[in-house]
């Protein structure tokens, strides 16, 4: 069984005037690291937003974990019930909450008991090397530290699938390369399925086990990537 399935998905914006996706089908197996690679405007972020549930496909269907979540213009399962993790391009760390508050938010929303929350927050902060920063606000952190908090916030919920939307695009090359390795380390530890969007070929080849190349709303090629750099 595939953990993510897109079947003949099309999507247009601006009341049909701008076609973002044209009849795209994609199947992703459990534990895969799939990178969608393509230029700006090719529809790669639209795929992430469809899988997350922020938008509905005009036609076609989407399944997550074997369950139909969206079909023909209708969101069947809303994002908050899909149990996915996501790291946004702008990271979307809530500026009014501390690092701990950012990580704890999802745990509270899912009704996790306080004792367990404390343990999970401590563990994840240790894992991303941010244990000493739990009381800081996002604005008091460097770009790399914010990146780690965003990862921790997504991973603390132990999602089966992690969606990442060009999360390293704003970082300098050295930090970018270091964090790629960190993402791989975390993926190995948690064994989540990774759906990663980027326009950077090097990033794609470093991370992916499979690369999906897109252009003008269509998948134009797919490649197995046998030797990701660890």
């Amino acid at each position: 069984m595939k953990i993510i399935e897109l079947n003949s998905v099309s999507k247009t914006y601006n009341s049909g005037s701008a076609r973002a996706l044209d009849n795209v089908s994609l199947k992703i197996g459990r534990g895969e690291r799939v990178v969608i690679l393509g230029p700006s405007g090719c529809g790669k972020t639209t795929i992430l937003r469809l899988v997350a549930g922020f938008i509905a496909p005009d036609s076609g269907s989407i399944s997550v974990g074997g369950k139909l979540v969206a079909k023909n213009g209708r969101v069947i399962v809303p994002p908050e019930k899909r149990h996915l993790g996501m790291v946004f391009q702008d990271l979307a760390l809530w500026p009014h909450l501390t690092v701990k508050g950012n990580i704890e938010f999802g745990l509270k929303a899912r009704g996790i008991a306080k004792a367990e929350r404390v343990i999970r927050i401590r563990d994840i902060l240790d894992l991303v090397g941010m244990a000493d920063y739990s009381r800081r606000k996002p604005a008091e952190l460097s770009g790399g530290q914010q990146q780690r908090v965003a990862l921790a916030r997504a991973l603390v919920l132990e999602p089966g699938v992690l969606l990442m939307d060009e999360p390293l695009s704003s970082l300098d090359l050295e930090l970018n390369v270091r964090l790629r390795k960190e993402i791989l380390r975390l993926q190995e530890k948690f064994s989540f399925t990774l759906l990663y969007v980027t326009h950077d070929r090097n990033e794609a080849f470093d991370i992916a086990t499979r690369i999906v190349i897109m252009d003008k709303g269509s998948v134009i090629d797919e490649k197995r990537n046998f030797a990701p750099d660890r």
């Binding site: 922020f54 809303p78 994002p79 908050e80 996915l84 809530w94 938010f105 916030r153 919920l157």
Partner: protein, 531 residues
């Protein structure tokens, strides 16, 4: 699901509170003994007197609009675009007349230039008579409404200037000086904002009845008020109010059509903070002196007269004795109105900003339409809808006043909240959604805290406008529930000028204190949230 149901409730509430009264008024004006009839309109449309009144209204609002835009836009550019000193102080100074009931400004000018005014002993009988002729009539009404609404084009110009991408101006600066850039790039880009401000000034001065009534210049909105309050001819009152509603609708629809064509949006440019101000250089002193003189004449002078007239503890003791209950009620009603306006405005702003429903533009248009509608029209609409035996719990209590505030001022609080919400990246709410949070949790724990300054600003603006309201409250207040602006208005007929001046100062004080708080917090807002 939570989101859809809740926003649907907010929409239904808006329609019930705002549109239904106007619709009820329209239906009422067409019914005679349960039969469809235009009889009520015949009196309005065939009378020459009514057309003269309409002409007066047009003349007054046109003059006010021309002057307010001609002075307000340069002031907005001066305060929003240049290195003019003490900009925020001057902005606050010129906004003061807008924050209080306009007739209070009229009272202050009367206390200055009137027969028994402060200047009368120095001017001599002939000059005093000339000043009286100036004040009582078109010029005086225009002066008062000009000073009241001057800050609308000023503020909207400043807001729209924030939406101009500084890179566009910098590109122009490579080929021309600032004068050329302003003329060829900046002003054409903010033209929709100038147009919007002109329309608002025109409609607000067209619907104003307190000032022309006090300065004895007969205008159209006074007619429906008089028909209702003096003759209790409800059908004639509604028939007189419907043309006002139709005119407002037509002008706003034209504005929406124009703005949509221009594709303009009231959304701050992300690069606005990096814009550098225009150096005034050798003109700085001249500009500062001119703005100071204007502020002294339009704001400081008339309100100082009220302070002088009301001087003495005795006047204030009498004021509290005669209107203490109205003062307390005013604050209570305005605070209650502000809480509800903030609540509904926040969610209306949210649904407009996130385009949560397909007809979000219609919702936005309805709120603006209700704001631009004369207060007397909304008042008559509320009476038309709620003056029924089964609705006594609303019509016979202060609830009817609060409904009036909600109907008219939701546009202000929703726009304030929508502007801030437009600056919050959608990913903030989406991140909470992916984390498993339902809509209410996202609203309470993420969106509202991120918009907290704007929510507070919306509360203060809601409070100020509810507090200054005269047109609606005058028509709908139940016995024993009058507010301070209404009490002052009724006392003006037989109260001493010292008592009126003292009441006006109290009115200004209970308005200005929260406005000053807003001014204080809006400075960090301008720096942090608006950029």
């Amino acid at each position: 699901m939570q989101k859809r149901v809740f926003l649907a409730i907010i929409i239904v509430l808006l329609l019930l509170v705002g549109l239904l009264p106007v619709f009820s008024m329209l239906v009422n004006s067409l019914g005679l003994d349960s039969h469809f009839s235009f009889v009520a309109y015949e009196g309005v449309l065939t009378s020459r007197h009514q057309w003269v009144l309409m002409g007066h209204s047009m003349a007054l609002s046109s003059i006010v609009t021309v002057f307010a835009v001609a002075v307000g836009v340069p002031l907005g550019i001066l305060f929003g675009k240049t290195d003019f000193p003490f900009r925020s102080f001057f902005m606050f100074l010129f906004a003061i007349p807008l924050l209080i009931p306009p007739y209070i400004t009229a009272v202050s000018w009367f206390d200055l230039l009137g027969r028994e005014g402060l200047l009368a002993p120095f001017m001599g009988p002939q000059l005093t008579a000339a000043a009286g002729r100036f004040l009582f009539g078109l010029p005086g009404s225009a002066l008062v409404l000009f000073s009241t609404f001057l800050s609308i084009p000023m503020i909207l110009t400043m807001v729209f200037l924030k939406a101009v991408n500084p890179r566009l101006e910098e590109a122009g600066l490579l080929a021309s000086g600032w004068r050329g850039v302003l003329k060829g790039i900046t002003i054409p880009l903010i033209l929709p904002g100038i147009l919007l401000s002109a329309i608002l000034v025109f409609l607000l001065s067209f619907g104003e009845f307190g000032v022309p009534n006090f300065l004895r210049y007969d205008v159209f909105p006074v007619e429906s008020f008089t028909q209702f309050s003096a003759f209790y001819n409800f059908k004639a009152a509604t028939a007189a109010a419907v043309p006002l509603a139709a005119l407002t609708l037509a002008i706003l629809a034209g504005e929406v059509w124009f703005l949509r064509k221009k594709g303009s949006q009231l959304r701050p440019s992300p690069d606005a903070a990096t814009a550098f101000p225009i150096p005034l250089g050798k003109y700085r002193r001249l500009m500062f002196s001119s703005a100071t003189v204007l502020g002294l004449v339009l704001v400081v002078l008339p309100f100082s007269v009220l302070v002088i007239q009301s001087a003495g503890i005795k006047n204030y003791v009498e004021a509290f004795n005669r209107a203490g209950d109205s003062i307390v009620r005013s604050i209570l009603y305005a605070a209650s109105g502000a809480v509800l306006l903030t609540f509904i405005g926040f969610f209306t702003g949210y649904l407009i900003q996130t385009k949560a429903v397909k007809f979000w533009r219609t919702i936005d248009f309805i709120t603006i339409f209700l704001f631009a509608l004369p207060g007397t029209v909304i008042g008559i609409g509320l009476v038309s809808l709620w003056n029924r035996p089964w609705a006594n719990l609303i019509y016979g209590t202060s609830a009817i006043i609060i409904l009036g505030y909600l109907a008219r001022y939701t546009a202000l609080t929703s726009r304030i909240c929508a502007t801030r919400l437009s600056q919050i990246p959608p990913s903030m709410e989406e991140a909470a959604q992916v984390a498993g949070a339902g809509w209410f949790r996202r609203m309470i724990l993420i969106v509202a805290p991120l918009a907290r300054r704007s929510i507070f600003a919306a509360f203060i603006v809601g409070y100020i406008f509810s507090l200054r309201d005269t047109g609606i409250t005058m028509l709908v207040y139940p016995a024993g529930h009058d507010t301070l602006p209404v009490r002052i208005f009724t006392l003006m007929a037989n109260g001493s000028s010292r008592l009126i001046a003292a009441l006006c100062i109290i009115m200004i004080a209970i308005t200005i204190v929260p406005a000053a708080i807003l001014w204080a917090i809006s400075r960090p807002v301008a720096g942090k949230e608006m950029t």
